[in-house]
Amino acid sequence: MSVWRDVIGQEKAVATLERAVRDPASMTHAWLFTGPPGSGRSVAARAFAAALLCPQGGCGECRECRTALDATHADVDVIATEGLSIKVEQARDLVALAAHRPSVGRYRVLIVEDADRLTERAADALLKALEEPTPRTVWMLCAPSVEDVIITIRSRSRHVRLRTPSVEAVADLLVRRDGVDHPMALYAARAAQSHVGMARRLARDEHARIRRHDVVAMATKIVTVGEAVDAAADLVTIAQEESAAASGERDAAEKARLLEILGADPSARTQPPHIRSQVSALEKDQKARATRFTRDVLDRSLVDLLSVYRDALVLRTGAGSALVNEDSRQVVTRVAEVLTAEQLLLAMDAVGTARERIDANVAPLLALEAMALGLRLPR
């Protein structure tokens, strides 16, 4: 067993990191992990943390390894945001932590999972810590690409690039780690385009599979202007329902817990001002989380939709590579029959534009309507 067992399809990156663990000359105080969503940036960072803290350099079995991997180790702190940004206050807390010496291990490790979501001020606060490193403190920043991180942070950290793992590697991981049977694992890995977390969800959650199936089927259903507008509304509804299902119970439980901690009477019709302000702060966070979740689900739907047109292009050009939507071959074949290669590229552009617009805060429904209008099939 090794601490690297869940870091799949990343031989080159793992070699770099192992060398840093063995050889002090190859070690540095700041690392930047980049790779497409689902490639396992935070998994790689945690494995690296474990290897640095393990007396055997990453056995995967000892207490140091296990606690570092699940981020319960006293010297490992993970900052992740479920909102849209990491605020300066959070960054400052982290910087304060970084100034302390490790409590039990060789290193203190600080992992920032969404370095691309640092606000400008939060990034500035981090930069100070990177410019004047504390001995034995190691920063690990994760982001989709180097361009997502401000240049001053980039230039002070060593870059580790993760690749998209192969479908087979992801399927193997699902079989080995999550006990998924092989055909399902293969379907899920392919449909998720090797996004590990998404593949896992598809393999284990029937609703996720149904949602994906519905989204893929849309590609053949939009012909009229009215159908385009309806399809856009459906996409938004699907995302909102999934977000509500994921957050409803959790939100209520968090609120009850907060009131309990504050010693407030949950049945009181109105709460005293200091409690009210804390409750509304929590509700604001929850809303931000729901917004991000809805957006993430929407984006996932658009990636799924995009894969249909890409598959159709593969069929049309006879490129012969495996289809992402092997399970929905009929849909892909139909799209490939009615759209020319050039029209397929335009459809892919329409989806890409919608993703960019939603990312730039355009009302999601409106962005999707414009997209769906561009996806209409000829009568």
């Binding site: 009215g226 949950p266 049945s267 009302a363 409106l366």
Partner: protein
């Protein structure tokens, strides 16, 4: 003299011993509850009101509160969120729905929606509880009905146009709509017409956006630009104007593709009010699917520009208004 029966007491204040407030709309539920309490207080000024919440209910509480108090006197026990009730609370509720009912006790149960607590609801109905409905107010049709009802309830006359204008101006939030109705009732006299509403709510961003949209969608370039420039001049943000334009174009597309059915049926299917359907149908005379599609796509681009993607948000919204009026003209030529 024979003791007064429960029915006679009920006649005195008009509230039976059991009341069920059923439905998710909190504005209506709160109002229903307040009316019940007011009526009870008319007969019993010293009424003791006890409120229990499903989320914090502890077994046996209900028994404690429903047993006759030492000093007599009327009591009203209000149980909130019975749609989230624990098995314990449900059992306790069932136990206190008795025949004959406990004297001097009124039990009010609030239930938003769903299957949980169904046995309690059945028992309440079996015990001839008064049911106060609080249905969701979601679509513009619901909101129109709600606002019209508000004015009727206050014995005020409001024209349909006034109700439409009000729903458009403040209809986003039911609570705000209720407050706006109340304000018009309190602050004005005589018939409430569209001008009355515009006096109070005409300055709202939505109202401005709607007037720009009306002009643009009827192809009136000069009027649309005049209204738009005026709005921008007094500091209205282009973002909500684009949102309203998009919403109006979307409604035209929905109604246009819904076919020839009755306005009321289409309204139900697409979640609009019948008058909105009628208005959309009139506006559709200048449009077809293709021209509306061009408008919606232009609006998506404009939304990106007014939200920071473009250098000049004001120019972006002017340009999209021009795109819309030109598409209208194109239809006429074609």
């Amino acid at each position: 003299m024979a003791p007064m029966t429960e029915d006679l007491v009920a006649v005195a204040h008009g509230v039976p011993p059991y009341v069920l407030v059923s439905g998710p709309e909190s504005v209506l539920a709160e109002r229903g509850l307040a009316e019940v309490l007011d009526r009870l207080r008319v007969a019993e000024p010293g009424l003791e009101v006890i409120r229990l919440y499903a989320g914090t209910y502890e077994g046996g509480e209900l028994v404690l509160h429903t047993s006759p108090s030492l000093f007599g006197g009327a009591k009203c026990v209000v149980v909130h969120d019975v749609d989230e009730a624990s098995d314990e609370l449900q059992a306790d509720l069932l136990a206190c729905i008795t025949d004959p009912p406990e004297p001097d006790l009124t039990l009010v149960v609030l239930h938003k929606s769903g299957q949980r607590g169904k046995r309690v609801l059945d028992a309440l109905r079996g015990a001839r509880a008064r049911v106060v409905d609080a249905p969701a107010i979601k679509t513009d049709r619901d909101k129109t009905d709600f606002a019209a009802h508000e004015f009727r309830r206050a014995r005020r006359k409001a024209t349909p146009e006034a109700v439409h204008a009000l729903v458009e101006a403040v209809g986003k939030d039911v609570r705000e709509l209720a407050a706006a109705c109340q304000q018009l009732v309190d602050d004005t006299t005589g018939v409430i017409d569209e001008n009355t509403v515009l006096t109070y709510h005409g300055g709202k961003v939505e109202a401005t956006g709607f007037r720009v949209a009306d002009a643009a969608l009827s192809g009136d370039t000069a009027e649309a630009l005049r209204l738009l420039r005026h709005a921008i001049g007094v500091g209205v943000d282009p973002v909500p104007i684009v949102a309203v334009l998009a919403q109006q174009v979307r409604q035209l597309i929905r109604v246009g593709s819904a076919g020839r059915g009755r306005s009321a049926d289409i309204a139900r299917d697409v979640g609009m009010a019948p008058w909105q359907v009628d208005r959309a149908r009139r506006a559709l005379a200048g449009w077809n699917g293709e021209t509306l599609a061009v408008c919606l796509q232009a609006l998506a681009a404009a939304d990106a520009e007014v939200k920071g993607g473009g250098r000049d948000p004001v120019y972006a919204v002017e340009r999209v208004v021009l795109t819309i009026t030109r598409q209208h003209a194109r239809h006429r030529e074609g």
